[in-house]
Protein backbone atom coordinates (compact mmCIF):
# COMPACT_ATOMS: atom_id res chain seq x y z
CA UNK A 1 0.00 0.00 0.00
CA UNK A 2 2.81 2.41 0.84
CA UNK A 3 5.07 0.80 -1.69
CA UNK A 4 6.11 3.86 -3.57
CA UNK A 5 6.51 6.19 -0.61
CA UNK A 6 10.10 7.11 0.05
CA UNK A 7 11.37 6.69 3.58
CA UNK A 8 12.72 10.00 4.86
CA UNK A 9 16.49 9.87 5.33
CA UNK A 10 16.39 12.39 8.13
CA UNK A 11 13.81 10.86 10.41
CA UNK A 12 11.18 13.43 9.58
CA UNK A 13 9.83 14.44 6.20
CA UNK A 14 9.99 18.04 7.40
CA UNK A 15 13.78 17.91 7.50
CA UNK A 16 14.34 16.47 4.04
CA UNK A 17 15.92 18.60 1.33
CA UNK A 18 13.49 20.63 -0.75
CA UNK A 19 13.05 20.73 -4.52
CA UNK A 20 11.40 23.09 -6.97
CA UNK A 21 9.21 20.84 -9.14
CA UNK A 22 9.80 23.04 -12.18
CA UNK A 23 13.20 21.39 -12.53
CA UNK A 24 11.66 17.93 -12.81
CA UNK A 25 9.17 19.46 -15.20
CA UNK A 26 11.72 20.80 -17.65
CA UNK A 27 13.92 17.73 -17.48
CA UNK A 28 10.98 15.46 -18.18
CA UNK A 29 9.72 17.70 -20.96
CA UNK A 30 13.11 17.52 -22.63
CA UNK A 31 13.18 13.72 -22.26
CA UNK A 32 9.72 13.45 -23.73
CA UNK A 33 10.62 15.80 -26.57
CA UNK A 34 13.72 13.79 -27.41
CA UNK A 35 11.69 10.60 -27.60
CA UNK A 36 8.67 11.98 -29.45
CA UNK A 37 8.84 14.67 -32.09
CA UNK A 38 5.17 15.54 -31.46
CA UNK A 39 5.97 17.10 -28.09
CA UNK A 40 6.15 20.93 -28.19
CA UNK A 41 6.12 23.64 -25.57
CA UNK A 42 3.83 26.68 -25.73
CA UNK A 43 4.51 29.71 -23.56
CA UNK A 44 3.35 33.27 -22.92
CA UNK A 45 6.72 35.03 -22.55
CA UNK A 46 7.20 32.53 -19.71
CA UNK A 47 10.39 30.88 -20.92
CA UNK A 48 12.31 31.94 -17.85
CA UNK A 49 9.55 31.57 -15.28
CA UNK A 50 8.88 28.08 -16.63
CA UNK A 51 12.65 27.39 -16.57
CA UNK A 52 12.60 26.49 -20.24
CA UNK A 53 15.79 28.23 -21.38
CA UNK A 54 17.63 24.93 -21.85
CA UNK A 55 14.65 23.41 -23.63
CA UNK A 56 14.60 26.38 -25.95
CA UNK A 57 18.27 25.89 -26.76
CA UNK A 58 17.78 22.17 -27.37
CA UNK A 59 14.57 22.50 -29.40
CA UNK A 60 14.47 26.07 -30.71
CA UNK A 61 11.57 25.42 -33.12
CA UNK A 62 9.58 23.43 -30.65
CA UNK A 63 9.16 26.08 -28.00
CA UNK A 64 6.43 28.36 -29.28
CA UNK A 65 6.28 31.70 -27.54
CA UNK A 66 3.06 33.48 -28.49
CA UNK A 67 3.91 36.49 -26.36
CA UNK A 68 1.88 37.80 -23.47
CA UNK A 69 -1.41 36.45 -24.77
CA UNK A 70 -2.95 33.59 -22.82
CA UNK A 71 -6.13 33.23 -24.87
CA UNK A 72 -4.07 32.91 -28.00
CA UNK A 73 -1.69 30.56 -26.22
CA UNK A 74 -4.39 28.02 -25.43
CA UNK A 75 -6.10 28.38 -28.81
CA UNK A 76 -2.73 27.92 -30.51
CA UNK A 77 -2.16 24.78 -28.45
CA UNK A 78 -5.53 23.40 -29.59
CA UNK A 79 -4.56 24.10 -33.21
CA UNK A 80 -1.19 22.43 -32.74
CA UNK A 81 -2.96 19.38 -31.33
CA UNK A 82 -5.27 19.39 -34.34
CA UNK A 83 -2.11 19.27 -36.45
CA UNK A 84 -0.88 16.20 -34.58
CA UNK A 85 1.40 17.78 -32.02
CA UNK A 86 1.26 17.23 -28.26
CA UNK A 87 1.57 20.71 -26.80
CA UNK A 88 2.62 21.27 -23.20
CA UNK A 89 1.39 24.76 -22.38
CA UNK A 90 3.65 26.19 -19.68
CA UNK A 91 2.46 29.37 -18.05
CA UNK A 92 1.87 30.81 -14.61
CA UNK A 93 -1.20 29.00 -13.38
CA UNK A 94 -2.98 32.22 -12.40
CA UNK A 95 -2.89 33.63 -15.95
CA UNK A 96 -3.30 30.33 -17.77
CA UNK A 97 -6.48 29.48 -15.93
CA UNK A 98 -8.06 32.89 -15.32
CA UNK A 99 -7.29 34.47 -18.65
CA UNK A 100 -7.89 31.53 -20.93
CA UNK A 101 -10.70 29.73 -19.14
CA UNK A 102 -13.10 29.80 -22.05
CA UNK A 103 -10.37 28.52 -24.35
CA UNK A 104 -9.69 25.73 -21.86
CA UNK A 105 -13.40 24.90 -21.79
CA UNK A 106 -14.21 25.21 -25.51
CA UNK A 107 -10.96 24.69 -27.44
CA UNK A 108 -9.40 22.06 -25.22
CA UNK A 109 -11.93 20.19 -23.06
CA UNK A 110 -15.09 20.36 -25.17
CA UNK A 111 -13.14 20.07 -28.43
CA UNK A 112 -11.24 17.14 -26.88
CA UNK A 113 -7.93 18.39 -28.19
CA UNK A 114 -4.85 16.59 -26.93
CA UNK A 115 -3.44 19.52 -24.98
CA UNK A 116 -1.50 19.36 -21.72
CA UNK A 117 -2.01 22.50 -19.66
CA UNK A 118 0.76 23.01 -17.13
CA UNK A 119 0.04 25.61 -14.46
CA UNK A 120 3.39 26.80 -13.20
CA UNK A 121 3.95 28.33 -9.74
CA UNK A 122 0.34 27.70 -8.65
CA UNK A 123 -1.37 28.36 -5.35
CA UNK A 124 0.38 31.07 -3.38
CA UNK A 125 3.82 30.35 -4.81
CA UNK A 126 4.16 33.97 -5.87
CA UNK A 127 3.75 34.94 -2.22
CA UNK A 128 4.46 38.65 -1.83
CA UNK A 129 3.37 39.38 -5.40
CA UNK A 130 -0.13 39.14 -4.05
CA UNK A 131 -3.57 37.76 -4.96
CA UNK A 132 -3.43 38.78 -8.64
CA UNK A 133 -0.58 36.29 -8.95
CA UNK A 134 -1.95 33.68 -6.59
CA UNK A 135 -3.68 30.83 -8.32
CA UNK A 136 -5.79 29.44 -5.54
CA UNK A 137 -9.02 29.31 -7.54
CA UNK A 138 -7.66 27.17 -10.38
CA UNK A 139 -8.69 23.82 -8.92
CA UNK A 140 -12.30 24.89 -8.36
CA UNK A 141 -12.38 26.48 -11.80
CA UNK A 142 -11.00 23.50 -13.68
CA UNK A 143 -12.80 20.85 -11.69
CA UNK A 144 -16.08 22.30 -12.97
CA UNK A 145 -15.07 21.65 -16.58
CA UNK A 146 -16.04 18.32 -18.11
CA UNK A 147 -13.49 16.16 -19.93
CA UNK A 148 -10.43 17.55 -18.20
CA UNK A 149 -8.21 15.57 -15.85
CA UNK A 150 -6.81 17.74 -13.06
CA UNK A 151 -3.56 16.66 -11.45
CA UNK A 152 -1.69 18.22 -8.53
CA UNK A 153 1.64 16.44 -8.05
CA UNK A 154 3.34 16.62 -4.71
CA UNK A 155 7.00 16.28 -5.54
CA UNK A 156 9.46 16.06 -8.43
CA UNK A 157 8.92 12.31 -8.82
CA UNK A 158 5.17 12.65 -9.13
CA UNK A 159 5.49 15.68 -11.39
CA UNK A 160 7.63 13.72 -13.83
CA UNK A 161 5.43 10.63 -13.58
CA UNK A 162 2.26 12.61 -14.22
CA UNK A 163 3.84 14.27 -17.24
CA UNK A 164 4.91 10.95 -18.71
CA UNK A 165 1.42 9.61 -18.24
CA UNK A 166 -0.11 12.75 -19.78
CA UNK A 167 2.17 12.60 -22.81
CA UNK A 168 1.28 8.96 -23.40
CA UNK A 169 -2.45 9.48 -22.99
CA UNK A 170 -4.74 11.12 -25.54
CA UNK A 171 -6.88 13.89 -24.07
CA UNK A 172 -6.96 17.15 -22.12
CA UNK A 173 -4.99 17.28 -18.89
CA UNK A 174 -4.11 20.02 -16.44
CA UNK A 175 -1.03 19.56 -14.27
CA UNK A 176 0.00 21.93 -11.53
CA UNK A 177 3.77 22.39 -11.35
CA UNK A 178 4.87 23.62 -7.95
CA UNK A 179 7.57 26.16 -7.40
CA UNK A 180 7.66 26.24 -3.62
CA UNK A 181 10.28 23.79 -2.38
CA UNK A 182 9.00 20.35 -1.41
CA UNK A 183 10.75 17.24 -0.10
CA UNK A 184 10.65 14.02 -2.11
CA UNK A 185 7.69 11.95 -1.03
CA UNK A 186 7.73 9.13 -3.57
CA UNK A 187 10.22 6.45 -4.41
CA UNK A 188 11.93 7.01 -7.73
CA UNK A 189 10.07 4.20 -9.48
CA UNK A 190 6.66 5.59 -8.58
CA UNK A 191 4.16 5.30 -11.37
CA UNK A 192 1.35 7.77 -11.70
CA UNK A 193 -2.09 6.21 -12.01
CA UNK A 194 -4.74 8.80 -12.84
CA UNK A 195 -7.71 8.93 -10.53
CA UNK A 196 -5.98 6.83 -7.93
CA UNK A 197 -5.16 7.90 -4.38
CA UNK A 198 -1.94 6.63 -2.84
CA UNK A 199 -1.89 5.60 0.81
CA UNK A 200 1.37 7.02 2.06
CA UNK A 201 0.77 6.08 5.65
CA UNK A 202 -1.87 3.83 7.06
CA UNK A 203 -3.94 4.56 10.13
CA UNK A 204 -7.43 4.07 11.49
CA UNK A 205 -7.97 7.10 13.69
CA UNK A 206 -8.29 9.90 11.19
CA UNK A 207 -7.46 10.52 7.53
CA UNK A 208 -5.42 13.36 6.11
CA UNK A 209 -5.98 13.89 2.39
CA UNK A 210 -3.68 16.25 0.57
CA UNK A 211 -1.62 16.86 -2.54
CA UNK A 212 0.83 19.34 -4.03
CA UNK A 213 3.01 21.38 -1.73
CA UNK A 214 0.89 20.58 1.30
CA UNK A 215 1.25 16.81 1.15
CA UNK A 216 4.53 16.68 3.03
CA UNK A 217 3.03 18.93 5.65
CA UNK A 218 0.23 16.40 6.11
CA UNK A 219 2.84 13.65 6.46
CA UNK A 220 4.68 15.70 9.05
CA UNK A 221 1.39 16.28 10.86
CA UNK A 222 0.84 12.51 10.91
CA UNK A 223 4.29 12.07 12.46
CA UNK A 224 3.32 14.52 15.19
CA UNK A 225 -0.05 12.86 15.77
CA UNK A 226 1.60 9.45 16.03
CA UNK A 227 3.59 10.73 18.99
CA UNK A 228 0.29 11.36 20.76
CA UNK A 229 -0.94 7.93 19.81
CA UNK A 230 -3.21 9.13 17.02
CA UNK A 231 -2.66 7.00 13.93
CA UNK A 232 -3.48 9.11 10.92
CA UNK A 233 -3.95 7.66 7.47
CA UNK A 234 -2.35 9.90 4.87
CA UNK A 235 -3.84 9.77 1.41
CA UNK A 236 -2.03 11.45 -1.41
CA UNK A 237 -4.69 12.58 -3.86
CA UNK A 238 -2.83 13.85 -6.92
CA UNK A 239 -5.86 13.58 -9.19
CA UNK A 240 -8.45 16.08 -8.08
CA UNK A 241 -10.61 15.12 -11.05
CA UNK A 242 -11.65 12.37 -11.44
CA UNK A 243 -11.49 11.76 -7.71
CA UNK A 244 -10.72 8.38 -6.17
CA UNK A 245 -14.13 8.08 -4.57
CA UNK A 246 -13.45 4.58 -3.31
CA UNK A 247 -10.43 5.64 -1.29
CA UNK A 248 -12.38 8.56 0.14
CA UNK A 249 -15.33 6.40 1.10
CA UNK A 250 -13.02 3.83 2.71
CA UNK A 251 -11.42 6.61 4.71
CA UNK A 252 -14.82 7.91 5.78
CA UNK A 253 -15.89 4.45 6.82
CA UNK A 254 -12.71 3.24 8.44
CA UNK A 255 -11.42 6.32 10.22
CA UNK A 256 -12.98 8.87 12.53
CA UNK A 257 -12.94 11.81 10.17
CA UNK A 258 -11.13 13.49 7.33
CA UNK A 259 -8.96 16.57 7.06
CA UNK A 260 -8.15 17.90 3.61
CA UNK A 261 -5.36 20.40 3.09
CA UNK A 262 -4.39 22.09 -0.17
CA UNK A 263 -2.69 25.17 -1.57
CA UNK A 264 -6.02 26.39 -2.98
CA UNK A 265 -9.37 27.85 -1.98
CA UNK A 266 -11.36 26.21 0.80
CA UNK A 267 -14.31 25.85 -1.57
CA UNK A 268 -14.61 23.77 -4.67
CA UNK A 269 -11.12 22.27 -4.75
CA UNK A 270 -9.82 19.00 -3.33
CA UNK A 271 -11.70 19.59 -0.08
CA UNK A 272 -14.91 20.30 -1.96
CA UNK A 273 -14.47 17.19 -4.08
CA UNK A 274 -13.93 15.03 -1.02
CA UNK A 275 -16.90 16.60 0.76
CA UNK A 276 -19.15 15.92 -2.22
CA UNK A 277 -18.11 12.26 -2.26
CA UNK A 278 -18.44 11.85 1.45
CA UNK A 279 -21.99 13.18 1.73
CA UNK A 280 -23.17 11.08 -1.17
CA UNK A 281 -21.56 7.83 -0.05
CA UNK A 282 -20.65 7.86 3.62
CA UNK A 283 -21.20 11.05 5.62
CA UNK A 284 -18.28 11.82 7.88
CA UNK A 285 -16.86 14.68 9.85
CA UNK A 286 -14.37 16.85 7.95
CA UNK A 287 -12.12 19.86 8.21
CA UNK A 288 -11.27 21.57 4.94
CA UNK A 289 -8.05 23.56 4.96
CA UNK A 290 -7.12 26.01 2.25
CA UNK A 291 -6.65 29.70 1.47
CA UNK A 292 -9.94 31.34 2.38
CA UNK A 293 -9.44 34.85 1.03
CA UNK A 294 -7.35 37.26 -1.02
CA UNK A 295 -4.26 36.74 1.08
CA UNK A 296 -2.28 39.57 2.66
CA UNK A 297 1.38 40.15 1.83
CA UNK A 298 3.60 37.26 2.77
CA UNK A 299 5.68 34.42 1.42
CA UNK A 300 4.07 31.16 0.34
CA UNK A 301 5.25 29.41 3.48
CA UNK A 302 4.06 32.25 5.68
CA UNK A 303 0.62 32.05 4.08
CA UNK A 304 0.29 28.27 4.32
CA UNK A 305 1.18 28.45 7.99
CA UNK A 306 -1.18 31.36 8.54
CA UNK A 307 -4.10 29.38 7.18
CA UNK A 308 -3.53 26.35 9.34
CA UNK A 309 -1.38 24.35 6.96
CA UNK A 310 1.78 24.05 9.01
CA UNK A 311 2.26 20.48 10.22
CA UNK A 312 1.10 21.71 13.61
CA UNK A 313 -1.97 23.36 12.10
CA UNK A 314 -2.96 20.25 10.20
CA UNK A 315 -2.44 18.13 13.30
CA UNK A 316 -4.64 20.53 15.24
CA UNK A 317 -7.41 20.19 12.65
CA UNK A 318 -7.13 16.42 12.93
CA UNK A 319 -7.61 16.64 16.67
CA UNK A 320 -10.59 18.93 16.13
CA UNK A 321 -12.20 16.49 13.75
CA UNK A 322 -11.75 13.79 16.36
CA UNK A 323 -13.21 16.06 19.00
CA UNK A 324 -10.01 15.93 21.06
Amino acid sequence: MTLTAKAPQTGSIADEPRYDCRNAYVETLADLARADHRIVGVVNDSVGSSKLDAFKKAFPDRLINVGIAEQDMVGVAAGLANGGRIPFVSAASCFLTARALEQIKADVAYSDHNVKLCGMSPGVAYGELGPTHHSIEDLAWLRAIDNLTVVVPADPVETAAAMRWAAATEGPVFIRVSRMGVPVVYREDHEFVPGRAVTLRDGQDVTLISNGTVLWRALAAAEQLAQEGIEARVLSMPTVKPLDVEAVVAAARETGGIVTAEEATRTGGLGGAVAESVVEHHPARMRILGIPEFAPTGSAGFLLDRYGMSPEGIAESAREVLGR
Binding site: I64, V66, A81, G83, Q103
Partner: protein, 305 residues
Protein backbone atom coordinates in the same frame (compact mmCIF):
# COMPACT_ATOMS: atom_id res chain seq x y z
CA UNK B 1 -39.58 22.59 -32.20
CA UNK B 2 -41.22 20.60 -34.93
CA UNK B 3 -38.13 19.49 -36.85
CA UNK B 4 -37.67 18.71 -40.46
CA UNK B 5 -39.10 15.51 -41.85
CA UNK B 6 -36.61 13.51 -43.84
CA UNK B 7 -38.42 13.93 -47.15
CA UNK B 8 -38.07 17.69 -46.83
CA UNK B 9 -34.35 17.18 -47.28
CA UNK B 10 -34.48 17.66 -51.00
CA UNK B 11 -30.97 18.76 -51.64
CA UNK B 12 -28.91 16.82 -54.14
CA UNK B 13 -25.33 16.01 -53.21
CA UNK B 14 -23.77 18.22 -55.83
CA UNK B 15 -20.14 17.71 -55.07
CA UNK B 16 -17.14 19.36 -56.72
CA UNK B 17 -16.43 19.83 -60.36
CA UNK B 18 -13.23 18.37 -61.66
CA UNK B 19 -10.44 20.87 -61.15
CA UNK B 20 -9.81 20.89 -64.88
CA UNK B 21 -13.27 22.43 -65.43
CA UNK B 22 -13.34 25.79 -67.25
CA UNK B 23 -13.54 28.74 -64.91
CA UNK B 24 -16.96 29.83 -66.16
CA UNK B 25 -18.40 26.34 -65.61
CA UNK B 26 -16.82 26.24 -62.21
CA UNK B 27 -18.32 29.60 -61.26
CA UNK B 28 -21.76 28.62 -62.54
CA UNK B 29 -21.57 25.37 -60.64
CA UNK B 30 -20.57 27.10 -57.43
CA UNK B 31 -23.43 29.58 -57.81
CA UNK B 32 -25.92 26.77 -58.15
CA UNK B 33 -24.46 24.85 -55.22
CA UNK B 34 -24.69 27.95 -53.07
CA UNK B 35 -28.31 28.43 -54.09
CA UNK B 36 -29.12 24.84 -53.14
CA UNK B 37 -27.34 25.22 -49.82
CA UNK B 38 -29.40 28.32 -49.08
CA UNK B 39 -32.63 26.47 -49.88
CA UNK B 40 -31.70 23.65 -47.57
CA UNK B 41 -30.44 25.94 -44.82
CA UNK B 42 -33.67 27.94 -44.96
CA UNK B 43 -35.54 24.71 -44.31
CA UNK B 44 -33.27 23.80 -41.41
CA UNK B 45 -33.86 27.08 -39.70
CA UNK B 46 -37.57 27.25 -40.43
CA UNK B 47 -38.28 23.72 -39.32
CA UNK B 48 -35.68 23.59 -36.58
CA UNK B 49 -37.21 26.75 -35.12
CA UNK B 50 -33.84 28.34 -34.45
CA UNK B 51 -30.59 29.25 -36.13
CA UNK B 52 -28.76 32.27 -37.45
CA UNK B 53 -30.06 32.70 -40.94
CA UNK B 54 -28.68 36.20 -41.48
CA UNK B 55 -25.12 35.10 -40.83
CA UNK B 56 -25.69 31.80 -42.64
CA UNK B 57 -26.69 33.51 -45.87
CA UNK B 58 -23.90 36.01 -45.49
CA UNK B 59 -21.35 33.20 -45.39
CA UNK B 60 -22.74 30.54 -47.70
CA UNK B 61 -21.01 31.76 -50.85
CA UNK B 62 -17.68 31.75 -49.05
CA UNK B 63 -18.28 28.26 -47.62
CA UNK B 64 -19.34 27.02 -51.04
CA UNK B 65 -16.24 28.28 -52.78
CA UNK B 66 -14.00 26.89 -50.04
CA UNK B 67 -15.48 23.40 -49.99
CA UNK B 68 -16.41 23.42 -53.67
CA UNK B 69 -13.11 24.46 -55.16
CA UNK B 70 -10.41 25.56 -52.74
CA UNK B 71 -9.93 23.27 -49.75
CA UNK B 72 -7.91 20.15 -50.19
CA UNK B 73 -10.20 18.01 -48.09
CA UNK B 74 -12.93 15.54 -48.97
CA UNK B 75 -15.01 12.95 -47.16
CA UNK B 76 -12.28 10.45 -47.98
CA UNK B 77 -9.50 12.57 -46.51
CA UNK B 78 -11.39 14.08 -43.59
CA UNK B 79 -8.99 12.49 -41.11
CA UNK B 80 -5.89 12.70 -43.27
CA UNK B 81 -3.14 14.57 -41.43
CA UNK B 82 -2.24 16.52 -44.56
CA UNK B 83 -5.75 17.81 -45.26
CA UNK B 84 -6.31 21.54 -45.45
CA UNK B 85 -8.05 22.83 -42.36
CA UNK B 86 -11.09 25.08 -42.36
CA UNK B 87 -12.18 26.59 -39.08
CA UNK B 88 -15.55 28.25 -38.81
CA UNK B 89 -14.86 30.84 -36.18
CA UNK B 90 -18.34 32.35 -36.46
CA UNK B 91 -19.74 29.09 -35.10
CA UNK B 92 -23.28 30.42 -34.87
CA UNK B 93 -23.69 29.68 -38.58
CA UNK B 94 -23.42 25.96 -37.90
CA UNK B 95 -26.56 25.43 -40.00
CA UNK B 96 -24.74 26.77 -43.05
CA UNK B 97 -21.71 24.61 -42.28
CA UNK B 98 -23.71 21.42 -41.77
CA UNK B 99 -25.57 22.01 -45.00
CA UNK B 100 -22.34 22.66 -46.85
CA UNK B 101 -20.71 19.56 -45.37
CA UNK B 102 -23.73 17.48 -46.38
CA UNK B 103 -23.65 18.92 -49.90
CA UNK B 104 -20.10 17.79 -50.32
CA UNK B 105 -20.71 14.39 -48.80
CA UNK B 106 -19.18 14.72 -45.34
CA UNK B 107 -22.53 14.07 -43.70
CA UNK B 108 -25.55 12.05 -44.79
CA UNK B 109 -27.96 14.61 -46.23
CA UNK B 110 -30.82 12.94 -44.37
CA UNK B 111 -29.13 13.74 -41.10
CA UNK B 112 -29.77 17.44 -41.63
CA UNK B 113 -33.33 16.64 -40.55
CA UNK B 114 -32.03 16.14 -37.01
CA UNK B 115 -30.70 19.72 -36.71
CA UNK B 116 -31.35 20.87 -33.11
CA UNK B 117 -33.39 17.80 -32.31
CA UNK B 118 -32.86 16.07 -28.96
CA UNK B 119 -29.61 14.10 -28.89
CA UNK B 120 -28.74 15.05 -32.47
CA UNK B 121 -25.07 15.56 -33.14
CA UNK B 122 -26.06 18.69 -35.06
CA UNK B 123 -26.56 21.26 -32.34
CA UNK B 124 -26.51 25.02 -32.80
CA UNK B 125 -22.71 25.15 -32.89
CA UNK B 126 -20.35 22.71 -34.57
CA UNK B 127 -18.72 19.85 -32.68
CA UNK B 128 -15.52 18.31 -34.03
CA UNK B 129 -15.85 15.25 -31.85
CA UNK B 130 -19.18 14.34 -33.38
CA UNK B 131 -19.41 15.86 -36.85
CA UNK B 132 -16.98 14.81 -39.61
CA UNK B 133 -15.32 17.79 -41.23
CA UNK B 134 -15.59 20.05 -38.21
CA UNK B 135 -12.16 21.09 -36.90
CA UNK B 136 -13.03 22.91 -33.67
CA UNK B 137 -15.97 23.39 -31.34
CA UNK B 138 -16.67 27.04 -31.93
CA UNK B 139 -19.57 29.25 -30.83
CA UNK B 140 -17.96 31.68 -28.45
CA UNK B 141 -16.59 34.32 -30.81
CA UNK B 142 -12.88 34.95 -31.16
CA UNK B 143 -11.69 31.37 -30.77
CA UNK B 144 -11.16 30.28 -34.36
CA UNK B 145 -8.28 32.51 -35.29
CA UNK B 146 -5.95 31.42 -32.45
CA UNK B 147 -6.74 27.79 -33.24
CA UNK B 148 -6.02 28.44 -36.91
CA UNK B 149 -2.69 30.01 -35.99
CA UNK B 150 -1.87 26.92 -33.97
CA UNK B 151 -2.68 24.72 -36.88
CA UNK B 152 -0.65 26.82 -39.30
CA UNK B 153 2.26 26.60 -36.86
CA UNK B 154 1.94 22.83 -36.83
CA UNK B 155 2.10 22.80 -40.63
CA UNK B 156 5.20 24.97 -40.53
CA UNK B 157 6.84 22.67 -37.99
CA UNK B 158 6.01 19.71 -40.23
CA UNK B 159 7.35 21.55 -43.30
CA UNK B 160 4.00 20.66 -44.79
CA UNK B 161 2.14 22.44 -47.57
CA UNK B 162 -1.25 22.00 -45.91
CA UNK B 163 -3.12 25.26 -45.50
CA UNK B 164 -5.41 26.78 -42.91
CA UNK B 165 -8.46 28.90 -43.64
CA UNK B 166 -10.55 30.53 -40.97
CA UNK B 167 -13.82 32.43 -41.39
CA UNK B 168 -14.62 35.09 -38.83
CA UNK B 169 -17.48 37.50 -38.41
CA UNK B 170 -16.74 41.20 -38.54
CA UNK B 171 -18.38 41.96 -35.20
CA UNK B 172 -16.32 39.06 -33.95
CA UNK B 173 -13.15 41.03 -34.60
CA UNK B 174 -14.02 43.17 -31.60
CA UNK B 175 -12.71 40.26 -29.53
CA UNK B 176 -9.11 40.93 -28.54
CA UNK B 177 -8.14 37.29 -28.87
CA UNK B 178 -8.16 37.79 -32.65
CA UNK B 179 -5.56 40.52 -32.46
CA UNK B 180 -3.37 38.41 -30.23
CA UNK B 181 -3.53 35.69 -32.85
CA UNK B 182 -2.88 38.08 -35.73
CA UNK B 183 0.23 39.42 -34.05
CA UNK B 184 1.49 35.88 -33.58
CA UNK B 185 0.58 34.88 -37.15
CA UNK B 186 2.66 37.64 -38.65
CA UNK B 187 5.48 37.15 -36.15
CA UNK B 188 5.72 33.53 -37.27
CA UNK B 189 5.32 34.45 -40.94
CA UNK B 190 2.45 32.03 -41.40
CA UNK B 191 1.73 32.50 -45.07
CA UNK B 192 -0.22 29.23 -45.15
CA UNK B 193 -2.89 30.98 -43.09
CA UNK B 194 -5.81 32.81 -44.67
CA UNK B 195 -8.25 34.75 -42.55
CA UNK B 196 -11.54 35.49 -44.29
CA UNK B 197 -13.72 38.15 -42.69
CA UNK B 198 -17.43 38.02 -43.42
CA UNK B 199 -17.69 41.80 -43.63
CA UNK B 200 -21.44 42.28 -43.52
CA UNK B 201 -21.20 45.34 -41.28
CA UNK B 202 -23.84 43.97 -38.94
CA UNK B 203 -23.46 42.18 -35.65
CA UNK B 204 -26.10 40.82 -33.29
CA UNK B 205 -27.89 44.01 -32.34
CA UNK B 206 -26.74 46.79 -34.63
CA UNK B 207 -24.24 47.82 -37.27
CA UNK B 208 -20.56 47.48 -36.51
CA UNK B 209 -20.33 51.22 -37.12
CA UNK B 210 -22.78 51.98 -34.32
CA UNK B 211 -21.31 49.42 -31.93
CA UNK B 212 -17.59 49.42 -32.22
CA UNK B 213 -16.44 50.47 -35.63
CA UNK B 214 -13.86 48.29 -37.27
CA UNK B 215 -12.84 50.69 -39.99
CA UNK B 216 -10.26 51.15 -41.30
CA UNK B 217 -10.17 47.36 -41.13
CA UNK B 218 -7.66 47.06 -43.96
CA UNK B 219 -5.27 49.39 -42.16
CA UNK B 220 -5.69 47.47 -38.93
CA UNK B 221 -4.91 44.13 -40.58
CA UNK B 222 -1.99 45.60 -42.50
CA UNK B 223 -0.55 47.14 -39.33
CA UNK B 224 -0.81 43.70 -37.75
CA UNK B 225 1.37 42.31 -40.52
CA UNK B 226 -1.14 40.76 -42.91
CA UNK B 227 -1.36 41.04 -46.64
CA UNK B 228 -4.87 42.40 -47.23
CA UNK B 229 -7.27 41.74 -50.12
CA UNK B 230 -10.87 42.82 -50.52
CA UNK B 231 -13.48 40.86 -52.46
CA UNK B 232 -17.18 40.75 -53.08
CA UNK B 233 -18.11 37.92 -50.77
CA UNK B 234 -21.09 36.93 -52.87
CA UNK B 235 -19.20 36.79 -56.16
CA UNK B 236 -18.13 33.21 -56.69
CA UNK B 237 -15.68 34.14 -59.39
CA UNK B 238 -13.91 36.74 -57.30
CA UNK B 239 -13.83 34.45 -54.30
CA UNK B 240 -12.49 31.62 -56.40
CA UNK B 241 -9.73 33.74 -57.85
CA UNK B 242 -8.66 35.22 -54.56
CA UNK B 243 -8.89 32.10 -52.41
CA UNK B 244 -7.03 30.08 -55.01
CA UNK B 245 -4.23 32.61 -55.18
CA UNK B 246 -3.23 32.92 -51.54
CA UNK B 247 -0.75 33.80 -50.20
CA UNK B 248 -0.24 37.09 -51.95
CA UNK B 249 2.99 37.91 -50.17
CA UNK B 250 5.42 35.15 -49.26
CA UNK B 251 6.03 35.14 -45.52
CA UNK B 252 2.82 37.01 -44.79
CA UNK B 253 -0.52 35.61 -43.71
CA UNK B 254 -3.47 36.75 -45.82
CA UNK B 255 -6.47 38.74 -44.68
CA UNK B 256 -9.42 38.61 -47.05
CA UNK B 257 -12.11 41.18 -46.38
CA UNK B 258 -15.18 39.64 -48.02
CA UNK B 259 -17.86 42.28 -48.41
CA UNK B 260 -21.21 40.64 -47.83
CA UNK B 261 -24.78 41.25 -46.77
CA UNK B 262 -26.40 39.45 -43.91
CA UNK B 263 -29.39 37.50 -45.26
CA UNK B 264 -28.27 37.82 -48.88
CA UNK B 265 -30.03 37.58 -51.34
CA UNK B 266 -33.47 37.46 -49.70
CA UNK B 267 -35.15 40.83 -50.21
CA UNK B 268 -36.55 41.21 -46.71
CA UNK B 269 -33.56 39.76 -44.91
CA UNK B 270 -30.68 41.29 -46.75
CA UNK B 271 -28.69 43.77 -44.70
CA UNK B 272 -31.39 43.75 -42.03
CA UNK B 273 -30.06 43.30 -38.50
CA UNK B 274 -33.37 41.83 -37.35
CA UNK B 275 -32.53 38.64 -39.23
CA UNK B 276 -29.49 37.81 -37.09
CA UNK B 277 -31.36 34.96 -35.46
CA UNK B 278 -34.98 35.45 -36.43
CA UNK B 279 -36.85 32.39 -37.69
CA UNK B 280 -38.94 32.85 -40.83
CA UNK B 281 -42.65 32.17 -40.34
CA UNK B 282 -44.61 30.18 -42.93
CA UNK B 283 -45.20 33.15 -45.20
CA UNK B 284 -41.63 34.44 -45.01
CA UNK B 285 -40.38 30.94 -45.56
CA UNK B 286 -42.43 30.60 -48.75
CA UNK B 287 -41.38 33.98 -50.03
CA UNK B 288 -37.71 33.22 -49.41
CA UNK B 289 -38.07 29.89 -51.18
CA UNK B 290 -39.71 31.64 -54.12
CA UNK B 291 -36.94 34.19 -54.32
CA UNK B 292 -34.30 31.45 -54.30
CA UNK B 293 -36.33 29.55 -56.89
CA UNK B 294 -36.34 32.54 -59.17
CA UNK B 295 -32.57 32.51 -59.12
CA UNK B 296 -32.37 29.02 -60.58
CA UNK B 297 -30.09 28.95 -63.64
CA UNK B 298 -32.80 27.43 -65.87
CA UNK B 299 -36.35 26.12 -65.66
CA UNK B 300 -35.34 22.44 -65.63
CA UNK B 301 -33.07 22.83 -62.67
CA UNK B 302 -35.89 24.35 -60.62
CA UNK B 303 -36.81 22.51 -57.54
CA UNK B 304 -40.17 20.72 -57.84
CA UNK B 305 -43.02 22.94 -56.57
Amino acid sequence: MPGLTTDEVTMPVLGRLDSSARREDQVAHLAEVARQIRIQDLKLVHHGGAGHIGGDFSAIDILTVLYGAVLDVSPATVEHPERDRFILSKGHVAGALYTTLATFGFLPVEELATFLQPLSRLNGHPNRVKVPGVEANTGPLGHGLPIAVGHALSAKLDVSRRRTFVLTGDGELQEGSNWEAMMAASQHELDSLTVIVDRNRLQQGATTRETNDLDPLDAKAAAFGFSVVEVNGHDHGELLDVLSAVPFRPGKPTFVIAHTHKGHPISFMSNNVKWHHKVPDAEQYQQALDELDALAPDRDARRPA
